[in-house]
Structures are given as structure tokens and as C-alpha cells.
């Protein structure tokens, strides 16, 4: 951070010396919200034009929803929830409606959220009937003493506080049922083995969604929501509901949401690791994210990416896969969406 401040000072000095340099080139506009819709084998070759357009429109819709919250003076928590709910409700991503099926043919959803101001957090794992897992994660954070609720118990809490419940079929889409049937047929009636991560990695798309935001009070927040691994079994829980792994936020450093082979994000504590590199090693957000994704994650053999914001509105969207559905909106309301590699 000191380096950045120093650089800004130098550039400002140059700007006085060279008054014809436009101020817009000196300091990039502060980013207020950044989102992802999953990383993986996302290339121009395997992404039809029609899907490119649908995904782009939906990411823009999520960015604008979050931006409006912030522009009206709302909190970063409100903004990340507003953005994530739109992606949960869309069948385009592996979260909420349109999530992948488990080996039992059901849909089990995970989510978590963290408030950078208080470092309070909430998460839910393996919920089947709560329309918005991220809204439930927020309720866990705000209305209980707990951080993580799982399974039937989490749903009992959701009913008790009057959250919107749906049948598990609500989340089911034809596309995911076809993927499930095709996977099942390929296994000849087996339900997959203990090394099922490999087959998911071959399919190459981790469709978790997430957001990080910075509000006018300078507070950061991050949120993540997912259907987890396709054809998962044995009550597998990934990184998305785990604070420090799939989600982390701390006003002192950054807000992060991750997507990828969740097991590696848990083992490497990768979201929090970015924060720790900023806090203790003095790295910028971009350098810390790059070190964790291209260094730690890649060295461990994992795939995926993160989006993140620091308290100055610097943004990162870093991944070691072919692409990541991603976008950000700046304080002026300009949106920027991308999906393929740089």
C-alpha cells in the first residue's frame, strides 16, 4: 500500500509538471462492486455467442443492482446480497436456481457472507429448500450467535425466522438434469467414487457466484453462493460456506470471494491468505491475489480464481483457469464485464 501511495504521489507531481495529462489517467476510478459467476474452461471456442450475451447481460444486471444500493447510500452488505441474489435466481450459474445436482439427484446449496467492519460472518451448508442461501447466510450472521449452520437445522432456522422457502425442484433446470443423466449413464449406475473431484475438474467449470463491495462509509463486505460440486456425495461441503476459504472481508485489508476446486481453497485458507499477505507482508491486493492464485493455488494443483476489493477501491479479478465470468462497477456507475482470459 505504501508503494501505491508513493506512486500516486509521484504521478501527482508529474501531473503538475505536465498539466495536459488528463486526471482520469492518473488515478483509475474507485471500484465499488466486483462480482464473479464462476471460473473454468471458459473460452471463445466453447462459449456460444448467445451464452456470451446472456451471461454478460446478467452480470451487468447484478452489477447495476449492487451499484444502485451503494449509490443510494446503502451498505456494502446490502450491495453484495443484491448482486448475489440476481445470480442465484438466474439459471446461468451454479447457485440457487440452476445449481448442479448431487449424486442423489437433489440440489444442496452453500453460501457465506462477511462484514469487513465487524468481521462478523454467517454461512449455511447443504440447504435444500431456502430460496436464497445468501440471504439465509446473512440472517445467520445478524440474527444468531453462530457463524455456520448446516442441513436440516439451517432450514429449521430459516422457517423460524420466516425466510422464503421453496421445493427443491424450484432449483432444478433441464440443463442440469441432462448433465446429471449423462453423468449417471457414464457411470453405469454407480454413484461416483471417492476421487470424484477429478471428474468435476475435467468438466472444467466452477459456477459459484460471489461479490465484494465497498460502501460510502468505507466498509467492505464479501458474499459467495454455490451449488457446489456436480454429482457430489457424502454430504461434501466445499469452500463457499467457509470463512477464510471461500469468503473473507476485513476493512483493514480486503473483501474476497472465491471460486474453483474448493478443497484447495480450504486447505490453503486462500481468501484469508490474501488478507494476511496484505497485512503482514505489505503486498497490494493485486500482488497478494496473484501470489495466492498463481503461487499457492497453482502449486497445490488447484484451479480457480478470486475477485476482491480493498478499502481504497482497488480491484482484483485473478484466476488460473482459461476464463472467469466477472465484472465490476466504479463509483461513477460504469460497468465492465469480461469472461475470457486476458
Amino acid at each position: 500500500m505504501k508503494d501505491t501511495i508513493f506512486l500516486i504521489s509521484v504521478i501527482s507531481a508529474l501531473a503538475f509538471a505536465l498539466p495536459d495529462v488528463a486526471p482520469a489517467q492518473l488515478a483509475p476510478p474507485k471500484v465499488v462492486l466486483v462480482i464473479h459467476g464462476g471460473a473454468g474452461s471458459i473460452t471463445p471456442e466453447n462459449t456460444p455467442e448467445s451464452r456470451q450475451q446472456e451471461v454478460t447481460r446478467k452480470l451487468e444486471e447484478a452489477l447495476i443492482a449492487g451499484y444502485h444500493v451503494l449509490d443510494e447510500g446503502g451498505t456494502s452488505l446490502d450491495a453484495v446480497v443484491a448482486a448475489v441474489v440476481i445470480m442465484e435466481d438466474s439459471p446461468l450459474f451454479n447457485a440457487g436456481r440452476g445449481a448442479v445436482l448431487t449424486s442423489a439427484g437433489t440440489i444442496e446449496l452453500d453460501a457465506s457472507i462477511m462484514d469487513g467492519a465487524s468481521r462478523n460472518a454467517g454461512g449455511v451448508a447443504a440447504v435444500k429448500r431456502v430460496k436464497s442461501p445468501i440471504a439465509l447466510a446473512r440472517a445467520v450472521m445478524e440474527q444468531t450467535d453462530h457463524v455456520l449452520l448446516a442441513g436440516e437445522g439451517a432450514e429449521a432456522f430459516a422457517r423460524e425466522i420466516g425466510m422464503e422457502m421453496v421445493a427443491n425442484e424450484y432449483f432444478r433446470t433441464d440443463r442440469r438434469v441432462q448433465q446429471f443423466e449423462s453423468k449417471k449413464a457414464s457411470l453405469n449406475g454407480d454413484t461416483g467414487d471417492a476421487r470424484s473431484l477429478q471428474s468435476v475438474r475435467e468438466s472444467g467449470y466452477y459456477g459459484t457466484v460471489g461479490a465484494a463491495a465497498l460502501d460510502s462509509e468505507g466498509n467492505l463486505a464479501a458474499a459467495t453462493s454455490t451449488g457446489g460440486l456436480s454429482f457430489k456425495k457424502w454430504g461434501r461441503v466445499g469452500d463457499s460456506p467457509i470463512i477464510g476459504a471461500g469468503t473473507y472481508a476485513d476493512n483493514e485489508t480486503c473483501a474476497i470471494s472465491a471460486t474453483g476446486t474448493g478443497e484447495y481453497f480450504i486447505r490453503g485458507v486462500l481468501s484469508f491468505r490474501i488478507s494476511a499477505l496484505m497485512l503482514h507482508a505489505g503486498l497490494s491486493l493485486e500482488d497478494a491475489a496473484s501470489s495466492v492464485i498463481h503461487g499457492t493455488l497453482s502449486e497445490m494443483g488447484g484451479d480457480g480464481g478470486v475477485i476482491g476489493l480493498d478499502r481504497h477501491g482497488n480491484v482484483t479479478m485473478t484466476f488460473n483457469t482459461d476464463g472467469m465470468y466477472r465484472g465490476y462497477v466504479d463509483a461513477a456507475g460504469n460497468t465492465h464485464v469480461a469472461m475470457f482470459g486476458k
Copy 2:
């Protein structure tokens, strides 16, 4: 670490100048295994002599079991499991047999383990019928691609690989049933509210068990097992099955197992935070643990402690509560057990 090495150099130099200083005083013997049986309001006043003796004997038994594994050339993973299984099987601690009851009157167990050499890890949450949750956590690490399995799914995996299963009643003890009935009566038929953490904190004892070990190959491992919060509801999951929160191990830095108000350990990612302080801020294990427990945890308002080992055999047993059941054994087989504050 640099400070320590420098200090050792200075002391070594003094030793040459003063040859009558016994070498044993220069470097404390390397610790190979450290364990805890929970932290909390453990004082001479509220701990009857008979319980002091029972706990001391059981901690020594766990230390010696782990020591034998290491002394015979076994791995740190084998040693932490050997030590933790003895505490799981004992009704004295809140893990395995003798675990606390949930608000539904059942027992739901969590555990996790991490291998510092590979940074591979395994955890289980809310299992009810697996005799040794730590053995199941190890099987998750070694026999699946996953890190965390929860609930019925985790038990289906346990049955599939032939782990020893028991009725939930196996874990139940008269002492815990009495605590449950008394709590239930005080609530007048209610099942507790969303702020249930407070009532547990008033009871003041977090009886999670855990171990960290260093083997002859220089590999670290850590393991943690618990019954979680007394009278917990809604599928609450604490820090014990969460890598980075309740358990962490990395040969580069340290092996840690935590006990306390688990929600704070999750939010602060406290086990991994100790490792990050060593790696990026150059702190010793003892200074990093002290910073995290007396700094981060206390500032957040949480209670608890950690035990840990670094790769040089330096040990920490740090807590911000009145006491912590704890002990370590050194390379010569000498055990040291304590429970009250320093």
C-alpha cells in the same frame, strides 16, 4: 524465528565462555507432542481433587500413547490420532463419549485433521454414529478428494469404508444428561434462542480435545475433536471441523489445535492466523500464538486457547481463560501436564 536463532547463538557463545553451564539449560528439550482437553473456567476452587487426578491421568495416557507412536518411528498423523482417540473415548472431555447434548438431546460430533507435509486435510461435521470422529476425519483426508463431509452423508461414507459405528447412546453419559435436563428445566420447555452462545460462555468450559505432533521425519500434524456447543441447535457447526479455524498444520510454520468460542476462531481464522504471523511477520510460534489469543481473540470478545508446535519442537499452550487442560511430552519421553493458569 530469527530472534530465537540469534538468542541461541548468543547463549551458545556464552556457553563456550562459561563451560560450567550445563548444556541442558541452553536448549530446552524438543517437544514431540502437545495436547489439550479444552479451556475455560478451570480453577483449583471449582475442580475437585478427584477430577484433577482423573484428568491428569488421562492426559498423561494420551501423551504416552502419542509418544509411543513417535518413538517407534510412526508419523505425526498416527501420533495425533492415537492421542485424540484416547480423549474421545474418555467421558472426561467434550468429544466422543461424554460429549455434550444438543438441544434435541442427541450428540453431534465434529473433528478435523491436517498433515503439515502435504497440507492435505480432512474434517467431519455433525456425525452421530461414528465411534471415532477423528479417525473418520483422517479417512476423509486420505481416502477421498474432499476435505469436509457433513451429517448423514459423512456417515454413509464411514459405513462404506467399514469404520466402527455405534448407537448415538454410546456417547451419552449420566453427567451430560443431567446437565441437559437442568438446562432444559431452566428454559421452561423452550429450546434456547439465537443468542445461545452467551449461555454456553457462562457455563465456561469448552471441552474440545486436540493434539499437535512432530515426527522424526520433521513432519507436523494437528487434530481436533469435539461435541461442540452444549444445547446447540439448527445444525450449528463450530470451528473444530474447519481447517484454518480449529485446526491447521504446515511444515513451514506450525501445527495448531484450538478450543473455545468457536465462532470467533472461524471469524478470525485464528489457527491459520498464527501460521501467517510466523511466515509473513517473522514471529516465533509463542509470540504468534500470544498475539492471536491475547490480541485478536480477546479484542473480538472471544474465549479460548490453542496448543501448537513448530518444526523445531518449540511448543505453545496459550489461553485467555482461567485454565486449559493441557500437556506435552518431549523427545526423551518426559510428560508435563497442567490445567490451571500460570
